[in-house]
């Protein structure tokens, strides 16, 4: 699928608040009781809200490779989900131009009761591929995942490694202009990782814009041209990889010839 026009991401003053609904807060009874006793306002205040992202602004244009770093819970995945349009910001503006593929969850919409082959067709439909293109997608994925006869068995019967291979092959089968990637692709057996690396690098090169969330400093340094350091939902630093990574790690980044996954 080729979409004409250049890819672009524009994010301005984006904040995402995450309401946490634990047991009692989910209950209608609580809300009604609070309303009946004239304390409706209190429900709003007593609700635990996580400020997952606060005042994030940046613009990416064709050719940009952005790495997101930060501790667990810094908001990396939330930012990717916001870019993918899954979460809507409470305030601010998200404008994304170009076809987008978000590799956030290896089992994205995979139905374990369906066979591998049926899952491929389903994914093609999720991505709005026209039916005539589905056989090509199927061949590509089946070839890469290398599952042989398991392709016609329900995913439920797969080993976890096989699920990852199928998930990876599916996620990388559709080439977008904008590629959003979470760090899950760093799992898998050694032989598969070699194959996966080649395919990923190919895909990354093919994408106009890459946004990658990772803890692996080498990968970020090797693939990205710009790094965003997130801390508690805010941008702590934004700049070229070497500068930001050095501050993040607290020491200069060791010079490496090649990155290893």
């Amino acid at each position: 699928m080729t979409v004409t026009g250049s890819a672009r991401i524009e994010i301005a003053d984006v904040s995402v608040f995450f309401p946490l609904y634990h047991g009692s807060n989910r209950s209608l009874k609580k809300t009604v009781m609070a309303a009946a006793s004239g304390r409706l306002g209190q429900d709003d205040h007593s609700r635990v809200v996580v400020q997952a992202l606060r005042d994030i602004s940046f613009t990416l244009t064709s050719g940009d490779r952005l790495g997101l770093i930060g501790q667990n819970g810094a908001g990396k995945t939330t930012l990717l989900r916001t870019l993918a349009g899954i979460y809507e910001p409470v305030t601010g503006l998200v404008r994304v131009q170009g076809s987008l593929n978000a590799m956030l969850d290896p089992n994205l919409g995979m139905n374990v009761d369906l066979t591998g082959r049926e899952n491929i067709v389903l994914r093609g439909l999720y991505n709005g591929l026209p039916r005539p293109e589905l056989p090509r997608l199927e061949a590509d994925v089946a070839d890469f995942a290398g599952l042989g006869d398991f392709m016609d068995l329900p995913v439920r019967t797969y080993s976890s490694g096989m699920v990852v291979r199928l998930g990876f092959a599916l996620a990388t089968a559709i080439r977008p202009q904008i590629l959003l990637m979470d760090e899950w692709f760093l799992v898998g057996d050694a032989e598969f990782m070699e194959k996966a690396k080649v395919r990923l690098e190919d895909m990354v090169r093919g994408a106009d814009i890459l946004v990658l969330s990772s803890h692996a400093v080498d990968v970020v340094r090797n693939w990205c041209t710009r790094v965003l350091w997130l801390e508690q939902g805010r941008i702590r630093e934004d700049g070229p990889p070497d500068t930001v990574l050095a501050r993040y790690l607290g020491h200069p980044v060791p010079q490496l010839e090649t990155a290893h996954l």
């Binding site: 995450f18 989910r26 009874k29 899954i86 809507e88 919409g109 369906l114 389903l122 999720y126």
Partner: protein
């Protein structure tokens, strides 16, 4: 975000969802196939269990109510199958979004797609149960005649109501988890208060009150034409008014809830 923008996004959601109808169709059909994968009769288990239920209840109640079985059984078969559809759709509407959690959190999809999928799934179930009606009508030599065509506009009303219920209850139940059981018990009561196993005429002069029951109005606009009569204009008016009300409430809620559903599921 201003209400105007939210409204536009909600419209986009519905339009995009409608454009994805082939996907909704496939997903709905897969749901049915998966539910019965490995069983010999497959979805025809539905047909069989409905047939047994209609057959046994038909004989029992025609004796209890002292009604001729030739008159009662075709009525019961039709009412029961249509009610299965209505109550099944309403109870599945509660899990429209919570069941699609994995998909909602992994990929941007219009929420309307999930409503469409639920409707498609229930239409497939209805399709399998229609066999019971056809067999009963053949046995008792019943042919609705040209009146039968009046079900077409009625089915359009049902489809609109079904989608609205899915969006409304789906989002509401995602936010408030105790709505599901409440809906279940309301449907149980509605089953007895609506003329499904008893006939409207048995109510005598109180029958004029029936259109105040939304389920009656909606059931009657489909059932009457298939029994060879015309639903009264009064019934149709009631059905349309309920539909408009439901759509209005749904829209007011959906416009506000749409962006939050991903956090709720």
């Amino acid at each position: 975000m201003s209400l105007a923008i939210q409204n536009r996004l909600a419209v986009d959601d519905v339009v995009e969802g409608l454009r994805l109808w082939p996907l909704a169709w496939t997903l709905g059909w897969l749901d049915i196939r998966l539910r019965y994968r490995g069983s010999m009769l497959g979805p025809f288990w539905l047909t069989l269990s409905t047939a047994v239920m209609v057959g046994s209840l038909g004989v029992l109640y025609s004796t209890l109510f002292h009604i001729d079985v030739h008159e009662y059984l075709p009525f019961l078969a039709l009412s029961q199958v249509l009610w299965f559809f209505l109550s099944g759709l309403v109870s599945e509407a509660c899990t429209v979004f919570t069941q699609a959690e994995g998909m909602i959190r992994a990929v941007r999809m219009p929420l309307f797609l999930h409503a469409l999928r639920t409707l498609v799934r229930n239409v497939f179930v209805l399709g399998h149960n229609i066999a019971v009606i056809v067999v009963v009508d053949i046995i008792f030599a019943i042919w609705p005649g040209w009146h039968g065509l009046l079900v077409l506009p009625a089915f359009v009303v049902w489809a609109v109501d079904g989608l609205a219920v899915c969006l409304l209850l789906g989002a509401f139940c995602a936010r408030f988890r105790d709505i599901g059981p409440i809906v279940g018990s309301i449907m149980q009561i509605a089953f007895f208060l609506t003329p499904v196993i008893w006939q409207p005429s048995q109510l005598g002069r109180h029958a004029v009150l029936l259109p105040f029951n939304p389920f009656f109005a909606l059931l009657e606009i489909v059932r009457a034409p298939l029994l060879g009569t015309t639903p009264s204009a009064y019934t149709w008016l009631a059905a349309v008014v309920y539909t408009l009300l439901l759509c209005a409430v749904t829209w007011l809620f959906f416009v506000r809830a749409r962006g939050r559903v991903a956090f709720w599921v």
